[in-house]
């Protein structure tokens, strides 16, 4: 009688440990232990058939199934907005380091413009957007990993399309009636490099901004992990080394 009580209490404890385990893989191991103790208890209750079935199917076979299903790495789906120059390379490098730290598989989905990527982010097909996102207050973003600034220009050239830039937050109509568009530093530099001789007039510079990753609003854990990773890389100097290697 006492022996049954002890085994039963162990069973109860293991059940509680299973449901309160933080990682699924730990819970699977606890579940196998629970099944084994349950089989012992069934044998004590003179049910050898049930005990044998439980230990063969419940403990061994089910655990195999869970372990096979859980052995694969988790994935991090990232929409990468294409920016010419070294910025994409730097972002890929940061994300690869992050995925290595948290044992994730990096899945990069390239997008030509930001609006498509935002659509995918809202529908949940990707978990974050990388690629020249400027830290505006209208989005949920990580800490900046690279300083930048936003320039406001008059639209003297029709080649610059506003929807490509995705900075509608800064895009305020001016007094003179002409369109004023905002562009970040990296894209401005690329624009100047590819359109030599085109004259653009810089009205205003907004300083103190940075390039960030945009994440979903419901993904608090991913945001915290990313922030911790970027701050740690900044403190150890690895981020500076990467910026020196890829961007400048």
């Amino acid at each position: 009688m006492a022996f049954k009580t002890i085994i039963g209490l162990i069973l109860l404890l293991m059940g509680i440990a299973t449901i309160s385990a933080r990682k699924a893989i730990t819970a699977v191991i606890f579940f196998a232990v629970t099944s084994t103790f349950a089989a012992i208890l069934f044998a004590l209750y003179r049910a050898p058939d049930v005990a044998l079935a439980e230990v063969a199917i419940g403990a061994a076979f089910t655990s195999f199934l869970y372990l096979i299903a859980l052995q694969h790495k988790g994935k991090l789906w990232v929409a990468l907005v294409e920016v010419k120059g070294g910025l994409n390379v730097l972002e890929k490098w940061i994300l690869e380091g992050f995925c290595e730290r948290y044992h994730l598989e990096l899945k990069l989905v390239p997008f030509p413009d930001i609006s498509r990527a935002k659509e995918k982010l809202n529908s949940g097909e990707v978990e974050m957007i990388a690629g020249g996102i400027v830290s505006t207050p209208s989005i949920i973003h990580t800490v900046p990993f690279l300083e930048t600034k936003v320039l406001l220009l008059t639209r003297s050239d029709k080649n610059i399309k506003t929807e490509d830039l995705g900075l509608s937050y800064f895009n305020t109509p001016s007094n003179e009636g002409t369109d004023v568009i905002a562009i970040d530093l990296m894209r401005y530099r690329n624009f100047l490099l590819s359109n030599l001789g085109v004259k653009v007039e810089v009205i205003k510079q907004i300083n103190g901004l940075g390039y960030v990753f945009e994440v979903r609003a419901d993904d608090k854990t991913l945001l915290k992990q990313l922030n911790d990773f970027i701050l740690e890389a900044e403190n150890t100097g690895r981020l500076k080394e990467g910026i020196g290697r890829f961007v400048y």
Binding site: A21, A27, T34, R46, A47, E54
Partner: protein, 119 residues
């Protein structure tokens, strides 16, 4: 009616399993909790048929006191069915993870709603 300790433990295990199913957000954890509550139900059935001092229901000579074999025969199929349904639901979880890139139930709810709205 005098109750065996196994019935109490079985009910508590079932309670723990249902709590885990309701409160945990990870779908894999939900399945594991369902498995715990499955063990609890089997334990109740086995303990109900138990008689103190009786033998296991394997017929031997000069022996006339056996535990009740009927509950054991009822639950032995449920263990195998539990495995089969578990594998099917694990496939469905993988299907959701394939489509929405998460197994968190609250996030899934939101993303399914967003995906419906964007259609």
């Amino acid at each position: 009616m005098k109750m065996d300790i196994g019935i109490y433990i079985g009910f508590l295990l079932e309670f723990v399993g249902i709590i885990g199913t309701v409160l945990r957000r990870n779908l894999v954890m939900k399945l594991l909790s369902l498995g715990i509550s499955d063990i609890g139900v089997v334990l109740i059935f086995v303990a109900v048929g138990y008689i103190p001092g009786a033998r296991a229901p394997i017929i031997e000579q000069n022996m006339d006191k056996y535990v009740d074999p009927l509950p054991q025969a009822l639950v032995i199929t449920s263990i195998v069915i539990g495995f089969a349904t578990l594998s099917l639901s694990l496939v469905f979880v993988m299907y959701l993870a394939n489509k929405f890139h998460t197994v968190d139930s609250t996030k899934l709810e939101k993303r399914v709603k967003d995906a419906k709205n964007s259609l």
